[in-house]
Symmetry: C2
Subunit: 287 residues, 2 copies
C-alpha cells in the first residue's frame, strides 16, 4: 500500500488477511479487526479517504484501456454465508466510484441452460473487459461450496472443479485480469442477529429467505467446504483473503484496502494522446 | 414532486422541461436554469438531499420486484452532443444509489451482427428488468440522429424508425417500464470550451476523439434531427425532456428531479412478507 492509504493500519491487510499455506479458517476470529486499531468512526473517515484514491485509480485503469484492448482489468470475487455483507461491499466500497467502469454480476442458482454447460461457461461470459473492475457477488466457487455441501455433483466432479478453477484463473491472470478473492467471515451468532433483524423490520422482509435458515443449519459443512476451497484454490496468481466481517465497517475498509493494493500494483497510467494535440487544437479553433 | 424535493424549485422540471406540442429546440437557452433560481453551491446541497430520496425510492423499487416479476422498472434514456455531460449524469446522479439496482448500457457504433438485425434488436436486450433502473447512454435514437445526419439509412427507413420507436416504447411502458427521455442541451460555444479543456489536460486526452470535431461541424443538421425526434417521438407515455446543460450542476439537479418525479409516480412499496414471520423467528431461534 502507499504511505497514505496504509497510515492507519499496523499491518498491511494484503499480507495479514491473505490465505497462506497452513491457513486454518477455524483460527480466524470473525469479530477481530486485524491490523486496524481504530474504531468505527475513524474507519468511516478512512473509507472516505480511500474512496477518493479508489476513484482516481479506477479512472486511470479505465482510461488506459481505451487505446489498448489488452490493458489490465481487476476482478473482485465475493463469497460469504448469507447476510455476511456482500451487498454492503458493493454499495459502500464499489459504489463510491464511477458505475461506468464497473461490471457487476450476481450469480444466482444456475438456469437449465447453464447447467447444460460446464460450470465455468456462465462465469467466462462475465469476466471483466480491459479497464473494468468486475465484481462477482457469488461465483464459480458456489459450484464447490453449495455444490459439495448439498451434493449437487458427485465427489469426483467436485475434485475436478478445484483444478479447473486454478487453471481458469491462471489463464485470466495471464491475460491481464488481476483477481482478488474475498471471503467475508461472520460468526453464526452474528448471522442470527442479522437474520432476526430482517424479520423484525418490515422494510427488510424482502431480504429474508426461509432457505437461509436451512443453509445455516449446515454451517460446519460449509466451513469445511470453504477450508477445502482455500487449500485447493488459493494460488500465487489468485490469492484468497479471509476478511473478518462481524464488524461491517472493518470488512468494508479491509476490502477497499485490498482493492487499492491490487490497483497500486497495476499502477495504471493516463494514456498518451493518439492524435496531434496542436493540430486538433487548431482544427477545433477553426469551427 | 413531493414538497421536500420541489421546495427549491419555482417550477416543476417535469412540467417546464417537457417537450410539449409546438416545442422548438431553437427556443431553448442552453445556459438557462429554468425553475431554479439558486446557484451552484445551493444546487450541490439540493443534489445531496435528492440523492437520499433517490436511494430510498430505488431500494423500494428493487424490493417490490423481488416477489413480483411484473413490477415496474424505470428507464432513463440519455442523448446529447459530445461533451454535454452524459457521463457526469451517470456518475453524479445515478452513481449515488446502489449499483446492484442499476442496469447501465452505453451504446456504441453497432457491430456487424447488430447491423444485420433491426435497429431495435440490440436495444430490446438491454431493457431493464422489473425493479431495475436502466440507463441508456445513447440509444435507439442514434439511429434517427447520426443515422439521418450521416445518411446511414435511406430517408424512408428513417421515417419508418420514428413510428417503430413510438410503438416499441408504448409496448415497454404497457409492460411496466417507465421511460424518461432526456436530451442534454449545450451550446456550440460551450462544447468548444469543453473540448479545448480535454486537449489542454493530459489526464483528459483519453476522452478526446478527433471525430467529435467532425460531428461538431454538422451541428445545425443535428439540431434539425433532434427537432424531428421531438416532433415524432415525444409521446404521453414516453415524453422527452430537454435539459439546458451549459451549467453541469443544473443539468444534474434537473435530471435527478425528473427521476424522482417518475419514481414518486411509481410509488414503490415495501413488499409484504411471503412467509410466516413468527414461524420463521421460531425456526431461526432454534438454530
Amino acid at each position: 500500500m502507499t504511505a497514505e492509504s496504509q497510515k492507519d493500519w499496523t499491518a498491511d491487510p494484503a499480507d495479514s488477511l491473505r490465505v497462506a499455506p497452513g491457513f486454518r479458517l477455524a483460527d480466524v476470529d470473525p469479530a477481530a479487526t486485524p491490523g486496524y486499531d481504530h474504531g468505527k468512526k475513524h474507519a468511516a473517515a478512512d473509507l472516505d479517504a480511500g474512496a477518493a484514491q479508489f476513484d482516481e485509480l479506477q479512472e486511470r485503469l479505465f482510461a488506459q484501456s481505451r487505446e489498448n484492448p489488452n490493458a489490465p482489468a481487476l476482478l473482485l470475487v465475493l463469497q460469504a454465508m448469507d447476510s455476511a455483507g456482500k451487498g454492503g461491499i458493493v454499495r459502500h466500497v464499489i459504489g463510491t466510484t464511477d458505475p461506468q467502469g464497473i461490471h457487476l454480476k450476481a450469480f444466482k442458482k444456475p438456469s437449465e441452460e447453464e447447467l447444460a454447460h460446464d460450470f465455468l461457461w456462465r462465469i467466462e461470459k462475465e469476466v471483466p473487459k480491459a479497464g473494468y473492475i468486475g465484481v462477482f457477488d457469488r461465483s464459480h466457487y458456489e459450484d464447490v461450496l453449495i455444490g459439495r455441501v448439498r451434493e449437487l455433483a458427485p465427489p469426483q466432479e467436485i475434485e475436478r472443479r478445484y483444478d479447473a478453477i486454478v487453471d481458469f484463473e491462471k489463464r485470466l491472470t495471464d491475460a491481464g485480469v488481476h483477481i482478488v478473492k474475498v471471503m467475508l467471515h461472520i460468526s453464526p451468532d452474528e448471522q442470527k442477529t442479522r437474520l432476526l433483524e430482517r424479520l423484525d423490520r418490515p422494510d427488510k422482509h424482502w431480504k429474508y429467505n426461509p432457505g437461509d435458515v436451512d443453509e445455516r443449519k449446515l454451517w460446519p459443512a460449509y466451513m469445511d467446504a470453504y477450508q477445502s476451497v482455500f487449500d485447493r484454490t488459493s494460488s500465487e496468481h489468485a490469492p484468497w483473503f479471509v476478511v473478518p466481517a462481524n464488524h461491517k465497517w472493518y470488512a468494508r475498509l479491509a476490502v477497499q484496502a485490498l482493492l487499492l493494493d491490487a490497483l497500486e500494483r497495476i499502477d495504471p497510467q493516463w494514456p498518451a494522446a493518439t492524435f496531434d494535440v496542436a493540430a486538433e487544437r487548431a482544427r477545433l479553433a477553426a469551427t
